[in-house]
């Protein structure tokens, strides 16, 4: 609808290895860009004020709340979302597998955010202390599990990744 077109900003981002170019409104949230423009609805929006962490994605390797970032700010960035953890049909990523095995999820809505937070933590700190682990996970809210199985899943993921690294 041209009559309400506002100023558009050209951006170019890489999402899960795929290069995307788009014209976006300056106010478009990165979360909305990922969900509606890139069509990757595995990233969920839970609060839109940066507390729940459900929308966490990796921007240039660091976990970010995509509801607190404008798409325009991500210009040139490399973004990883939950869909990038395992190719369709391929085995689950070790972090995903760990959440399954430890029953670290119930409704699944917060799960993508926890997965991305855990991936970022273990890539940066392969063997976190208990304090580091809980500190990293405490930026995400889960209302179903009570967290115990999520913490167990993150520990299990650490072991799986270490084993995979040894092979």
């Amino acid at each position: 609808m041209s009559e309400h077109a506002v100023q558009q900003v050209p951006i170019r981002v890489t999402v899960n290895g795929r290069e995307l170019a788009a014209e976006v409104e300056p106010r478009l949230l990165l979360s909305d860009f990922i969900r509606h423009h890139a069509g990757l609805t595995g990233t969920h929006v839970g609060c839109e004020h940066g507390v729940c962490g459900a929308c966490t994605v990796l921007v240039d390797g660091a976990p970010q709340r995509s509801c607190l970032v404008f798409a325009a700010q991500a210009d040139g960035a490399e973004i990883r979302t939950v869909e990038g953890l395992a190719e369709p049909g391929a085995p689950l990523h070790p972090v995903q597998q760990a959440f399954h095995e430890e029953h670290g999820m119930q409704c699944g809505f917060c799960t993508s955010g926890f997965l991305m937070t855990t991936v970022a933590l273990l890539e940066e700190t392969p063997h976190p202390s208990d304090e580091q682990l809980v500190d990293a996970l405490s930026g995400n809210l889960c209302r179903c599990t009570g967290y115990r199985n999520i913490v167990a899943a993150a520990r299990s993921a650490e072991r799986k990744l270490a084993e995979a690294g040894d092979e």
Partner: protein, 792 residues
């Protein structure tokens, strides 16, 4: 033949959710979909003078703008079936009177709570819809608001409904035994006021609705983040004056429910209506600020409770006068306030009881079931009072409980009360002394003082029962598909409870078909015509038994059909591992897939008279509820200098009947406990005296995180129920019932010598400091500095 029930089978739900392939309501975006945003009342009570929407109507991308005046002739005020249900036996037993209170989808004349929808904009996108909201000129004339439920019942209080003579929405009184005599004869009496504060359930996914009219047949398809799609369909059929068959309501993947998504909301009616009106699919996704104000809240009761006991601490009588806050609309009748009555006395044997409840409407958000639904409120009052009694008698709080528990030999135990469904309240099974003993064992005899490091340690208990598996019914339909797979459809939808796994376990066992070949579909009115939904810790009991019943019928149908095909009497055959075999092992085998193939209409040698499909349907009417139970024990360390409370250990012993999937059962309890801990220590929804919401974001309303997770230990004391064939009880809510009482009792125990009485939660540091100051004890900076005290 049970092989899967009782095993922690890994969840079949997980893989697609882990890959980000789930389909939650906001992931559904039909072609041409428009988006809605609501203008909401900024005032708690106001007359609507004018709403000027002209500028908004001509704003970029706007498709429609509607106010309450536009909808007045189109949508009748909302009344839910449950609001009219007061069983005759309940009325006779308690004199219960409950007003029916219609709720306008969008009011035309008056706003009665902050966040109430006053207008709706439909636009090309949510961004443009919110832009247009800014252009609406709303003129309100403030009216006096009432927020506190006790104040609302005072003479002369502002009236929330001008047509009512007062704000009283519901009232009952239950009496049994000679309460007055018991109080006169008592050696010890304790009397106290306890408040259960207001919560918001806060599923991480908010609510949402997408509605589309099928251009081919006019069917109105609604996807909603709901716990009760069939009830929503039936409601919409009435409200939109359509035949139910012309509606399809689906609950897609739902990101947590916990009660509030079992209610039906103005948006659930307005969005489908708009889809029929604007000729485009319409979507509305609640944002978090809307959720705080406009999704139903939980709890908020005041109890003035008194216990009478003999010198040994045997409880002789309980007297309780309760005020319940309904919020602005009393929409669900008895549900929450009456649950409070039937769970107040809990696992105790008490000869005399007098409980009165009055429920008030106020200018606050609507209060409806939230995990526990009236039970945590009852348990907070009773278990706090029981702990106060132990202190007054001078015995250990766990010992006093042990002296008053109903003995296992007394089961089934009739309480004398009538349950909400109109049947006599009878505890069917349970071993309460054992539950208590197991919980005690998890917290006693540990060197807590060492872990407390300079802080004060306290131990607190909470015991409860929970009526689970309430009717009226749930449905199941099982169909053998090509390839020998079996589809299980049920009216019970899932918001994370793992039905696709647990119901498949039940079906696999009952049928004799491998688990992997069973797929469960829940929450789609097109998959099964009748259904009730997932609320009130009921699905495993009611849907589980419906599935088992339908599976038994399907198994018989399969053996019948196979018998005709094989020329063998059906009773000589069995179905196991998906293959039909002769029981004596002598004769041909027939895989279920081959049987399905033989019955296929494409099979030219299809036997004459063979059934057209292998299908069975069942409705399970549960009868009276079955009683789950638990004892929670909290060990806390309190820093009297800062008021900080740390839970050193949280122990749960619980009875969920026969567990179908222990890992999933444990997950349900853990999640419930964490929500209860949230309410005990962090979460509180606060209104100011004018009815403004003070806690409208996660910055103000604090949910517990992984950092607040204590060590939690669980033990099972499972007593299968005789009331249903599977022997199962519900457990979705139980975990959340105990923590506020157990933790409050523990904090008070830690600070007892300072004269502290805990009357309300959450026990935030400033609250704890205020309690210490009010207690008059010297619990300030000096007391906590060096010594470690372990409370007796």
């Amino acid at each position: 033949m049970s092989e899967l029930i009782g095993r922690s089978v890994p969840r079949v739900e997980d893989e697609r959710l882990l890959r980000g392939e789930g389909a939650y309501v906001d992931d559904l975006h039909p072609s041409g979909c428009s988006e809605a945003a609501f203008l909401r009342s900024p005032q708690a009570h106001a007359r609507i003078v004018s709403i000027d929407v002209e500028e908004a109507r001509s704003a970029p991308g706007v498709i429609a703008v509607l106010t309450g005046a536009d909808l007045a002739g189109e949508l009748e005020p909302m009344v839910f079936q449950i609001a009219r249900v007061v069983p005759e036996t309940v009325r006779a037993s308690t004199g219960a009177v409950s007003r029916v209170h219609p709720m306008p989808a969008i009011p035309a004349d008056r706003a009665t709570y902050v966040g109430q929808p006053l207008a709706v904009v439909v636009a090309e996108s949510r961004y443009l819809a919110e832009d247009a909201l800014e252009l609406i000129e709303l003129e309100l004339e403030p009216l006096p608001a009432v927020v506190d439920p006790e104040a609302a019942l005072e003479p002369g209080a502002p009236l929330v409904e001008p047509e009512w003579e007062d704000n009283l929405a519901l009232e009952y009184r239950y009496r049994r035994g000679d309460v007055d005599a018991a109080f006169e004869q008592a050696a010890v009496v304790v009397e106290e006021v306890f408040h259960s504060h207001r919560h918001v359930a806060s599923p991480i996914e908010t609510r949402g609705v997408v509605a589309t009219v099928d251009p081919l047949d006019g069917t109105l398809a609604v996807s909603a983040s709901t716990q009760t799609p069939h009830q929503l369909r039936d409601f919409l059929a009435g409200a939109l004056r359509r035949a139910p068959e012309t509606l399809r309501v689906r609950a897609p993947d739902v990101g947590g429910g916990f009660g509030p998504k079992g209610a039906i909301y103005p948006e659930d009616l307005v969005i489908p209506y708009l889809a029929t009106r604007v000729g485009r699919p319409v979507k509305w996704i609640e944002d978090r600020s809307e959720h705080f104000a406009a999704t139903t809240h939980g709890r908020e009761q005041v109890h003035r409770i008194a216990l009478a006991a003999d010198a040994d601490g045997r409880i002789l009588a309980v007297r309780d006068s309760i005020v319940h806050n309904c919020g602005a609309y009393h929409t669900l009748g008895l549900v929450v306030p009456y649950n409070t009555l039937t769970h107040l006395i809990g696992p105790y044997d008490v000869p005399a009881v007098d409980v009165r409840l009055r429920a008030a409407i106020t200018n606050t958000g609507v209060v409806a079931p939230y995990r526990g639904a009236g039970r945590p409120e009852a348990v907070f009052a009773m278990e706090r009072a029981v702990t106060r009694l132990a202190r007054a008698v001078g015995i250990d709080a766990a010992e006093l409980r042990a002296r008053n528990l109903i003995a296992p030999e007394a089961m089934p135990y009739a309480t004398g009360m009538i349950y909400r469904d109109g049947t006599e309240q009878v505890y069917d099974s349970g071993d309460y002394p054992k539950l208590l003993a197991r919980a005690r064992a998890l917290v006693e005899e540990e060197p807590w003082a060492e872990r407390a490091a300079g802080r004060r340690v306290g131990v607190g208990y909470a015991a409860y029962v929970e009526g689970t598996g309430v009717g009226p019914f749930e449905s199941a339909a099982l169909t053998v598909l090509g390839g020998g797979r079996v589809r299980v459809a049920t009216g019970a939808s899932s918001q994370g409870q793992s039905h696709r796994t647990t119901l498949a376990q039940i079906a696999a066992d009952a049928l004799g078909v491998p688990f992997e070949r069973i797929e469960v579909v829940g929450g789609d009115t097109a998959a099964i015509a009748a259904g009730f939904g997932t609320i009130a810790s009921r699905s495993l009991v009611v849907a589980g038994n419906a599935v088992a019943k339908a599976a038994a019928e399907l198994r018989a149908a399969v053996l019948d059909a196979a018998g005709s095909l094989l020329g063998a009497p059906p009773e000589s055959l069995t179905l196991a591992d998906g293959t039909i075999r002769p029981l004596d092992g002598d004769g041909p085998e027939l895989p279920l897939a081959d049987l399905a193939g033989a019955l296929s209409p494409f099979n030219p040698r299809r036997p004459a008279g063979a059934p057209t499909e292998l299908h069975a349907k069942a409705i399970f009417n549960p009868g009276p509820v079955t009683y789950a139970a638990g004892v929670h024990a909290a060990v806390v360390a309190v820093d009297p200098a800062t008021g900080a409370v740390e839970i050193l250990r949280y122990a749960v012993s619980h009875d969920c009947g026969r567990p179908v999937n222990p890992a999933i059962a444990e997950g349900q309890v853990l999640g419930g406990v964490m929500q209860g801990i949230g309410g005990a220590l962090y979460e509180e929804l606060v209104y100011d005296p004018d009815g403004q919401l003070r806690t409208g974001s996660f910055m103000d309303y604090l949910l517990p995180t992984a950092g607040e997770m204590p060590e939690i230990r669980l033990v099972h004391v499972d007593c299968p129920t005789p009331l249903n064939p599977l022997g199962v009880k519900g457990l979705g809510e139980g975990g959340a019932i105990g923590p506020p009482a157990a933790i409050a009792n523990a904090v008070e125990d830690a600070l007892a010598d300072l004269g502290v009485v805990v009357r309300a939660c959450p026990l935030t540091p400033d609250r704890v400091r205020a309690l210490i100051r009010a207690g008059g004890g010297d619990g300030g900076a000096t007391a906590g500095a060096g010594a470690t005290e372990v409370a007796a």
